[in-house]
């Protein structure tokens, strides 16, 4: 097989997600009265970023072969904290951001320590720690509220052009800036995180160790992979991503809300996004990039509901009482597409993993 074909075959899941996303998004943006614009991109990326971070957090754990039922709750905890600390002078804000990420890291580390040293199954441990995080979030923020720096909120949720404009970096935009000024800030943040966190992780021994563990833990151990370290690293980093999600969510909404139902929604959606994005729930393969598209597929489904016309061929999708049903149906179909290998398998023994 040529290298290209190998690459395709190793990334089929993610590629399916990309195609699915493109189909849905083209459908959406072509029906949109204003068409595809920067505004649309800003709005859509704002809507997706927190879920993307949570889903990347989930991805890290799923790669290990685990599942994390606490990501949404940890995000909520950090969201609650952020609504108290990300405000004030510049240095105070920076400190607040650091505190938020540190809480994320600590939450992830706590999961990791219990799972690794308690030798317990991640799904049950995170079921429990999720409750703990929710409880802490409710302690910090019994009712929705709090405040986050307004400028930060505005900058983080708009096109890049607002960054220098808000903080007054330069009077007139330098030429090169015009090229990039239309890029939404969430995309910039995401690219930075991918570049500075995910890619290095993916190419580190610890990161590869995570894949090895998910693929076959005993073999990884026998091969001299540092099991404990890799697991702890993955959970801790996962916590940091959940923290990022909570932080961005706070910045985006300018407030905090310890809503356990919302936390549950984020957790479950993150699992769906991971699967649609081509990461196997058995572990060992997949990655953040696929997950990003998995989230975009999920989000695009609901985008479409906003633009379909009652009188069009798919007018039934405009009925608000049918939408939840179709949302579920499309979700089932998407995860089935993302996960079902039953039809392509020629040797039925290959189905059992």
């Amino acid at each position: 097989m040529s290298n290209f074909r190998l690459w395709i075959s190793h990334n089929t899941g993610a590629l399916i997600a990309v195609v699915l996303f493109l189909v849905l998004y083209i459908f959406y943006s072509s029906l949109h009265p204003r068409g595809f614009t920067t505004d649309l991109l800003v709005q859509n990326s704002n809507e997706a970023l927190a879920l993307i971070f949570v889903s990347i957090a989930q991805t890290l754990v799923v790669i290990l072969g685990g599942i994390d039922l606490s990501v949404g709750s940890l995000m909520t905890l950090v969201n609650a904290v952020a609504s108290e600390v990300v405000i004030g002078t510049g240095p105070e804000i920076v400190l607040g951001i650091v505190i938020c990420l540190a809480i994320g890291l600590a939450g992830g580390l706590m999961n990791g320590v219990i799972i690794v040293y308690g030798r317990l199954q991640p799904i049950v441990v995170t079921l429990a720690t999720g409750a703990i995080f929710t409880g802490l979030a409710l302690l910090v923020r019994p009712t929705p509220g709090g405040e986050v720096d307004g400028d930060l909120s505005w900058v983080a949720t708009n096109a890049l052009s607002e960054l220098p404009a808000t903080y007054g970096w330069w009077d007139s935009d330098p030429g090169w800036f015009n090229l990039v000024s239309g890029i939404p800030m969430p995309i910039v943040i995401l690219l930075l995180v991918i570049l500075l966190v995910w890619i290095p992780y993916r190419n580190s021994e610890l990161g590869r160790g995570g894949y090895a563990i998910g693929s076959n833990e005993a073999a990884a151990y026998m091969s001299g992979v540092r099991i404990n370290r890799s697991k702890l690293a993955a959970y801790t980093l996962s916590g940091m991503f959940a923290g990022l999600a909570g932080l961005y969510f706070a910045i985006q909404t300018g407030s905090g809300n310890a809503d356990p139902i919302q936390a549950g929604t984020y957790t479950l959606n993150s699992i769906a996004a991971v699967v649609i994005g081509g990461t196997s729930l058995f572990g060992g393969s997949g990655g953040a990039i696929g997950t990003i598209f998995g989230v975009m597929v999920l989000r695009s489904i609901t985008f479409c509901f906003r633009v379909v016309d009652t009188d069009s061929a798919v007018g039934f999708l405009a009925n608000p009482l049918l939408q939840p049903m179709f949302e579920g149906l499309i979700l089932v179909i998407a995860v089935t597409l993302g996960a079902a290998r039953a039809f392509s398998v020629k040797n039925r023994l290959n189905m059992f993993r």
């Binding site: 097989m1 693929s215 091969s223 001299g224 060992g284």
Partner: protein, 520 residues
Amino acid sequence: MEVLDTGPAAPLLEMRGIGKSYGGVAALDEVDFSAHASSIHAVLGENGAGKSTLIKIISGAIAPDRGTMSFDGRPITVADPQAANAVGIVTVFQELSVIPDLSVADNISITRPPKRLGLIDRRAQRRRAEELLARVGCEDVNPRARVGDLPLSRRQMVEIAKALGRDPKLLILDEATSALTAADVERVYTILHRLRDDGLALLYISHRMHEIEELADTISVFRNGRHISTFAKGTQSDDQIVQMMIGRDVSNVYPPKPVRTEPPPVELEVSRLGWTDRLSDISFTLGKGEIVGLGGLDGQGQREVLLALFGVLRNVSGTVRVFDHKGVPRSPVVATRPDHAMALIPEDRKTEGLMLPMSISDNISLTSLKWLSRGFVIDGTAEKNAVDGMIEKLRIKIGNPDDAVATLSGGNQQKVVIAKWLLTGPRILLLNDPTRGIDVGTKEEIYRLLRELADAGTSIILYSTDYDELIGCCDRVLILYGGRIVQTLEGDAITETNIVASSFNLPVESEAAAEPVRPQ
């Protein structure tokens, strides 16, 4: 215990008073053992003798209960495989330790990968993989390929390449060649000889006597967790070695084949069987009481033939007749129904044959629960009797039928797999390399059992990677090459020369050739 002086130099590895127990079972008992540089040291013993346990202790995978170890003259404790690697002890484990979802290159450099800017340098890693693969003669393996997509024999070669990449001082191979084809084995021999000449110490575990003969300088025999003896090759005869290993004589390994006057009634007729690009135009018949062998290089479609007949493969073309049933069974459910009465001993007992944490009893009765139930309820007494009967018949060495199968040694686990199928009273038995990793004594029992079954009317298809076995057991041998049957050998024509020749799709000579065909 007689310990032979294997050379003037001090041993590289020295173990004293090593003990290890699992529950009540002593896997190793007061073992003293040493290995020297520039020597290939074979470790022999029947299944469950403690060989793998010894290896795992040396390589840090498990900790001994008692005893001390020194390496290179210094006392050491190996806490985990990383620690072993760090001092130069590298092991190719019996249960492969390649990681299926990672690429070949990733696997080979799984520890201490080449780095740039603190991150793994994938390109350098691929170059390194290419070099090491070339050293073991596997240039055809793409370093970017997923290891899980490779056939078992390639995986084993990747594992060996990976071990070589770790600059071992002591290289341990625990049944590292069990899945290799003859050609690969040759290459591995060459490499091992070269490594020995470079001054490495090698520990080699295998159940194939002829490998030992070709390779080893020194031989140690283990039995029941004890180190029985260590001696130079050639100082003991094969029979003596076997005697040491299993404590009795194994004079006639293969039971005699029956002489037939007329062809037996055909029970299974396969014509023009095809499946994807892996099988085409497979036609043969299986008569009542016959043992038909499948031979050839590994991965030429032998497994697929068995799986196809057992209903595991999808979209199989061609026709099959089983007794009076036309058509390929649609699933193992159909294949195991009384009117087909087929059984398949699968390739990998751990993942396809057994539920390791469940009890021996549960494993044996699983296939027969339908018969062992009254109405919808399992008949406990019937189940117990059936299980006890099988354990006795196959002489499975166990403590208690309620113990987990996982506690048994490899050979006894294999017997459990066989037992569970024999309990169903199969009329057609498909065996997929059933003696892989099984000691001579047990092998002999299995051969005898197969012949007894055949004599009692069971028809058997036996795929084996060991041509001795095909020669010794089979009434007829079909050699596969590239998914086709290229040769059918019968009677006296079943010879090593012919099997090897037709495995490479070369013409068969009527008289045994002076030089067996060797791979290029």
